[in-house]
């Protein structure tokens, strides 16, 4: 589809992008709706275990897996987790509302930045976009994603509840005003975005249509789930599939390309661990990569002291659901509150560490990063 205006470029290749970056959101939505219709609520936890935890693992591979990167960022890779886990432990115990807010907001910012990062890679791959494209695209993501958070029934339910818990509950009229303003800003920015694209094309700039198809697919998933399904379960499953799988894919290909592009004589002397990572991300060994990720997820679940049957989407829980009163008495009491807090600290701590690492390891303008893209 080469023309004077359009300049396609792909993150993986034409087929790979069609599956993982353009088609995946639609499949994720279908899967999430199916989960809501036919599976128990546990499906959301199952997706976290199958997808989200392995996608954290991909970050650890990306940061700690190559000696070159590890030595480049060693200070931040040590200091970051220490600070984040300290904040997590203190926050979860003493200021749970703040802890929840910071965690959720950072998660949203992280989601925005990931899709923005992919947009940047599309421009990088096709050599499109102007000097201002990065900032304008980022503005687009902030405005459109933010609008979804502010105006959709799904998310306004969450932030209004949070405001109420903090003693800042607004009136219904105030909420309407805020939502109307948000829509107005979104519409205004949408018009500005289209206008600057048209002006750019008239000035001879080329655009990568795949990038816009990718952005469209992402926002279809988010907006459809936030309005039409309006369900935490559907949004959570669909978003985690899209976010997690796309992340795992990019990390795998990044590491593979990096490993393959390193000439034998340029590879520094490495320990067994680094060599294993190089081996794992090699061509045709994607299944090893996937298997190790799942083993990591299972181990993580064991450390959390949570049941491994979450892997089964709530389908394989017969012994649990059929428990009688008599068997309950035999089981005895569990200190579920402390166990919940412990699990929360671990999940949030690792999650936020992942957000933090991603904030500096994926700079598309960085020449060393470009090597793996």
């Amino acid at each position: 589809m080469k023309s004077a205006t359009f300049q396609p470029g792909y993150i993986l290749n034409r087929r790979g992008d069609a599956i993982w970056f353009l088609g995946l959101p639609y499949m994720a939505v279908l899967f999430a709706i199916s989960c809501q219709m036919w599976l128990p609520a546990v499906a959301l936890a199952s997706i976290s275990l199958w997808i989200t935890i392995p996608h954290h693992f991909a970050t650890w591979m990306r940061t700690y897996g190559f000696k070159e990167d590890l030595s480049r960022w060693s200070q931040r890779l040590i200091v970051g987790p220490m600070i984040i886990f300290s904040l997590t432990i203190l926050g979860a115990i003493y200021v749970p509302l703040t802890f929840f807010m910071v965690n959720v907001l950072w998660d949203h910012q992280h989601s925005i930045m990931q899709q923005h990062g992919f947009s940047r890679i599309y421009d990088f791959k096709s050599g499109t976009g102007s000097r201002r494209s990065g900032k304008i695209d980022l503005g687009f993501h902030w405005v459109f994603f933010g609008n979804m958070l502010i105006t959709s029934p799904l998310f306004s339910t969450i932030w209004l509840a949070q405001f109420a818990a903090m003693g800042l509950l607004p009136e219904a009229g105030t909420v309407h005003v805020i939502q109307t303003c948000s829509w107005a800003i979104t519409a205004g920015y949408g018009i500005f975005y289209l206008w600057q694209l048209v002006v750019g094309v008239r000035n001879g700039n080329k655009i990568n249509p795949v990038k816009y198809l990718f952005i469209g697919s992402s926002y279809f998933l988010w907006y459809f789930c936030a309005w039409h399904a309006s369900s935490v379960l559907v949004w959570g499953i669909a978003h985690r599939i899209m976010h997690g799988l796309q992340y795992i894919i990019i990390v795998y290909w990044y590491l593979r390309r990096k490993a393959e592009s390193d000439k034998n004589d340029s590879i520094p002397v490495e320990g067994v661990g680094f060599k294993m990572v190089r081996y794992m991300v090699g061509s045709k060994r994607v299944w090893i990569f996937a298997a190790v990720s799942l083993v990591y997820a299972a181990l993580f679940q064991i450390v959390l002291m949570e049941p491994l049957e979450v892997f089964g989407f709530g389908v394989f829980r017969i012994s649990e659901v059929e428990r009688t009163i008599e068997s309950l008495k035999a089981v005895g009491m569990t200190d579920a509150m402390w166990q919940g807090l412990y699990a929360e600290i671990l999940v949030a701590g690792f999650g936020m560490t992942h957000f933090y690492f991603d904030s500096f390891i994926w700079k598309v303008r960085d020449k060393k990063v470009q090597k793996g893209l």
């Binding site: 984040i84 200021v95 703040t98 029934p153 209004l160 379960l233």
Partner: protein
């Protein structure tokens, strides 16, 4: 500068944590909750229901409010069934709530088992100790308070007697209500006990302190003449538990309000029923008699307040009604000393002062952060006191609801009364002993 640039994200996150923590620790009052299913609904529930009434989540919030505010299990059941039919799985706790509601309604075992099964299917991890089949076994609304809490506290208007019935362990074989004769000089004769085999559900002293009426689970009612030390009656109400009672010796009558919504007037002489009045669609939860003993006020689980006139033949006639003042169970009612005002307290976190006329216009409203149980109007008629599950004991101006004094206690306060002395309150402290508090002059 380079350091800040390198760690800017961490700095931003740490600042966000710090700022949020400062606000949370200094400006947000934490609540310690409570009983599953009866936990306070989402604080934004009312707004969310208004904004998104059709969302299954809002329908579930309605169910929360129905149970929490009005003990309305039937509405909660209907709402939860609607949400479950719409495939609502966002919050697995509603499967738990549904099973609990069925258990509290005494639904067939098969239905309860299936609801529990659904809760277990959807919730990971499930907390075994909270299994509704275990914790709601034999429990009906209103749920008992925690052991040691004292909701039942009554005084005679002349200030010579008070009576309290602290909540006791459910496994205790004997329950006690304690009557204190405050004017008795000999401490050995100052306290008397009423014993019963089941929980006390209502307790009231006559205005002149001469008689006491108490009620226990199962609808058993006891009336004693304290002056003559004479046990008058032990009667059983055939229409269920009695949640509110009063005794008027000058008219030779006792009045009860029960689970079926009936107000009954009993003859003190022979224990017969003189009059039965359907006063509410659901349970009657509060009764009070005016100082003049000519008016009666009742409150119910739907938040309605009704004022009745006692006639010469000891029948009652409705003269005032308000169904808009409260959204939750009326927990307490008190007439002002001048017979022209009525105070009400409710589970909806508010207390109101009404002018006594046909429409019962609410003139003053005050708010707590949890259900209010303790309520009294000062003998001067200028102040009233409220006490609630939020551990706050507050004194307000009757005229405009202006706060005069607020104290946060270590435990929830379920009762508070003015004494006959100016600016003095009494509450039952955490050792289940009477404790006196000074009130600041307005």
């Amino acid at each position: 500068m380079k350091f800040l640039q390198k760690y800017r994200i961490l700095c931003i996150v740490t600042l966000a944590f710090g700022g949020g923590a400062y606000y949370e620790l200094n400006y947000i009052e934490s609540t310690s909750n409570f009983v599953p299913v009866m936990a306070q609904p989402n604080p934004a529930a009312e707004l969310l229901i208004e904004l998104y009434p059709q969302r299954p989540g809002s329908i579930c919030l309605e169910a929360d409010r129905a149970v929490y505010l009005r003990y309305d299990l039937e509405t909660a059941k209907t709402n939860l069934e609607t949400a479950i039919r719409q495939n609502y799985k966002d919050d697995a706790s509603y499967f738990y709530n549904y099973a609990s509601v069925l258990m509290l309604l005494g639904a067939p075992k098969k239905e309860i088992e299936e609801a529990v099964r659904q809760w277990r299917v959807h919730g990971i991890p499930v907390q075994n100790e909270l299994d509704p089949r275990v914790i709601y076994q034999g429990v009906t609304f209103p749920l008992p308070l925690e052991e040691g809490a004292t909701r039942l506290m009554t005084k005679s208007l002349d200030g010579r007697r008070i009576a309290i019935a602290p909540e006791m362990s459910a496994t205790a074989s004997t329950m006690y209500a304690e009557i204190q004769d405050l004017l008795e000089p000999n401490p050995n004769y100052r306290t008397k006990n009423i014993r019963a085999t089941t929980r006390f559900t209502a307790l009231s002293l006559a205005h002149d302190g001469s008689h006491i009426i108490s009620a226990n689970e199962g609808g058993v009612m006891t009336i004693i003449n304290l002056d003559s030390q004479k046990f008058l009656h032990r009667l059983t109400n055939t229409s269920g538990d009695i949640f509110a009672a009063a005794v008027i010796p000058s008219r030779n009558i006792a009045i009860t309000g029960d689970r079926s919504g009936l107000v009954k007037i009993w003859d003190l002489v022979d224990g017969s029923i003189l009059h039965t009045e359907p006063a509410a669609n659901r349970s009657v939860s509060a009764i009070t008699v005016s100082p003049s003993e000519s008016l009666l006020a009742t409150g119910d689980w739907d938040g309605n307040v009704t004022v009745w006139e006692l006639n010469e033949t000891n029948g009652i006639k409705k003269i005032g009604f308000n169904d808009a003042g409260h959204q939750g169970v009326i927990t307490n009612l008190v007439f002002g000393a001048d017979n022209t005002t009525l105070a009400s307290a409710s589970r909806d976190h508010t207390a109101r002062i009404f002018k006594l006329d046909a429409t019962l216009n609410g003139t003053t409203i005050v708010k707590h952060r949890a259900p209010i149980y303790g309520l009294d109007i000062a003998p001067s008629g200028t102040q009233f006191v409220t006490a609630g599950e939020d551990q706050v004991l507050a004194v307000w101006a009757v005229s405009d609801g202006r706060p005069i004094q607020k104290d946060v206690k270590p435990l929830p306060i379920y009762s508070a009364l003015f004494t006959t002395k100016p600016n003095e309150l009494m509450i039952v402290n955490e050792q289940q002993q009477l404790s006196y508090e000074r009130v600041a002059s307005p």
